[in-house]
């Protein structure tokens, strides 16, 4: 038995290295490269981090519960506009505004999700897609609050109290840390009674019911979690760029985020991050195809959906502890 113990301790260590140390090291390496590069690269990596947060939330809902939501961008809009209006027009502290927007998004997600999540299949898909369309419309129509098409500018950068992060590179560091925090939170939630209940629902709603899991309540909880992530991403975007408009949180956000999620691997820990990074860097790779970018994104997404429906898990299996691992 002793040999068995040594092996399992070793394998636990190997697991930790594989699933935590290496990915985090990679993240910091990328951060380091970005910090020593031009402002353009900083912006790109910043977008990757923001979308990383968004996709981690999306992954939580879709990957761990097996439900489809095509409307998370609605909550990003809520977060973005919430932060923007509170900080630009009412001079709130950015961190406070972010937290308040989070809570607001969570409450609205709970209210909206309650009836919506009773739907299934394409009805659920369309209803959630409609959510995104509705916030898009509202952000255009509610001129007095959102300035409509023109968008809101003059959003102060991230800061707290007297500190303001004027330097983009400092902002990038904070964004990266927030992203890592988001991943940490999602792993904590996943490896717990809460996470197990969610994955039971993804596996078989009938069996989950038979084991005493209140399926409707847990689906809603996961939806709210994803909405809160989206809201944070939206707020971060507002502060990072200093300007938002309805287009930012429109349908292209849906397509981009899904492409990232599928590319990186649905239901994996670091998949959303990897996907966000790759897709954010694609414009660089596809520089020459400027106008064709959206076409290429769509083609890439379609190709992945056809040939590798669970994402390029070949990439992420190097980094992630499989869901079937030891202390799942």
């Amino acid at each position: 038995m002793t040999s068995l113990n040594i092996t399992s301790t070793n394998s636990k260590l190997m697991d930790a290295v594989r699933t935590v140390v290496v990915p985090v090291a990679v993240v910091f390496a990328v951060l380091g490269i970005a910090l020593t590069s031009s402002g353009y690269v900083v912006t790109l990596i910043g977008f990757a981090a923001i979308y990383g947060v968004f996709c981690t939330g999306l992954n939580f809902f879709m990957g761990y519960t097996g439900q489809a939501s095509f409307g998370q961008n609605a909550f990003a809009a809520l977060g973005g506009y919430g932060s923007a209006v509170l900080t630009a027009n009412y001079y709130w502290d950015p961190v406070l505004a972010l937290l308040v927007s989070m809570v607001l998004s969570g409450v609205i997600a709970a209210a909206v999700g309650y009836p919506t999540l009773r739907l299934r299949g394409h009805y659920l898909a369309m209803a959630t897609f409609a959510l995104g369309l509705i916030t898009y419309e509202i952000s255009i129509e509610w001129n007095s609050l959102t300035q409509g098409y023109m968008g809101l500018s003059g959003i102060p950068p991230l800061g707290m109290g007297k500190y303001e992060l004027v330097n983009e590179k400092h902002q990038l560091i904070v964004l990266t840390l927030v992203m890592l925090l988001g991943v940490w939170v999602s792993v904590r939630l996943r490896d717990s009674r809460f996470g197990r209940a969610l994955r039971a629902i993804a596996g078989s709603e009938a069996a989950a019911n038979a084991l005493g899991i209140n399926v409707a309540r847990y689906k809603l909880a996961a939806f709210v979690v994803a909405a809160v992530y989206a809201s944070v991403a939206g707020s971060l975007f507002a502060h990072f760029v200093g300007f938002i408009s309805p287009e930012v949180f429109g349908a292209s956000m849906v397509i981009l985020s899904f492409t990232m999620l599928y590319l990186g691997g649905v239901g994996t820990t670091w998949g959303p991050i990897i996907g966000a990074l790759i897709v954010s860097l694609l414009p660089e790779v596809l520089r020459g195809l400027k106008e064709m970018q959206d076409v290429v994104y769509s083609v890439v997404l379609i190709a992945i959906l056809i040939f590798a429906p669970r994402g390029l898990s070949g990439l992420t299996v190097l980094f992630q502890r499989k869901q079937t691992g030891p202390d799942v």
Partner: protein
């Protein structure tokens, strides 16, 4: 103590009567079986008992509490766990992970606990882990604990399902045709596990077609035909019951196979 009391349960689908005033009791620690020809209404009865469906009329009492009309998860939370005819495993999870989801009902903690990991939470996780190992040994799946549930042979998937149900510490276990699709060895292993479960004090009700299994392990048998209960008694009584024999005549299953 009566664990389960089914009183006059009737289920009508339009003009079709699936269950017709069925009544029977299951006492604590009993191993009972519900048998009957195909289409007799057994799974419908299970659906009513487990809360997946509401009966047109009639009541079901579980440990003295009225449970008819409650949503299924609430019934399960009271300790009545059922399995399904087609194994409903969590395919992408490992064997171990499947069992761990079973503890939901006897544990607590939501989002906050998951994030903050207070001491009681960590102790609970440790208890879940060790209990899972016990259950793995109980059904003999220790060797494949880390395998994806999907990859198991069907007989072992069944055992996994039982182990997962046991994690919920049920006082009543409803097994819907657990032996369906199993070969002789697998059925024997299943019978052994069911008997051991029952000996630990868990009441079990089986719906089954496999007569040999039923006759071997059941203490009480309820026979249903065309939605009506036509007999109730010990295996010996049922074997000799004229109506039961008549119901099975013409079918390919004999009672003495």
């Amino acid at each position: 103590m009566t664990v389960l009391s089914v009183k006059d349960v009737t289920v009508r689908f339009g003009g079709l009567i699936a269950n017709d005033a069925i009544s029977f009791d299951v006492s604590e620690g009993m191993l009972a079986a519900v048998i009957g020809p195909n289409g007799a209404g057994k799974t419908t009865l299970f659906n009513v008992i487990s809360g997946a469906m509401e009966p047109t009329s009639g009541t079901v009492y579980f440990n003295g509490e009225l449970i008819t009309g409650l949503p299924q998860y609430e019934v399960s939370q009271k300790g009545l766990v059922r399995t399904y005819q087609l194994v409903q495993l969590f395919k992408d999870l490992s064997v171990r992970a499947n069992i761990m989801t079973g503890f939901h009902r006897v544990t607590k903690g939501g989002v906050l606990a998951a994030l903050l990991r207070p001491r009681w939470f960590m102790e609970q996780e440790a208890r879940i882990a060790s209990r899972t190992e016990e259950l793995l040994d109980f059904v003999g799946l220790r060797a494949v604990a880390d395998m994806e549930a999907d990859k198991l042979p069907y007989g072992q998937q069944r055992l996994l399902e039982v182990a997962r149900a046991l994690a919920a510490e049920p006082s009543l276990l409803l097994l819907d045709e657990p032996a369906a699709g199993l070969n002789i060895q697998e059925t024997a292993a299943l019978a052994d596990v069911i008997e051991r479960v029952n000996r630990q004090g868990v009441a079990v009700v089986l719906v089954e077609h496999d007569m040999q299994l039923v006759m071997q392990i059941a203490q009480k048998i309820v026979v249903i035909d065309f939605g009506r209960k036509i007999a109730e008694g010990s295996p010996a009584q049922i074997k000799a019951h004229p109506e039961v024999i008549a119901a099975y005549l013409g079918g390919t299953e004999g009672l003495d196979d």
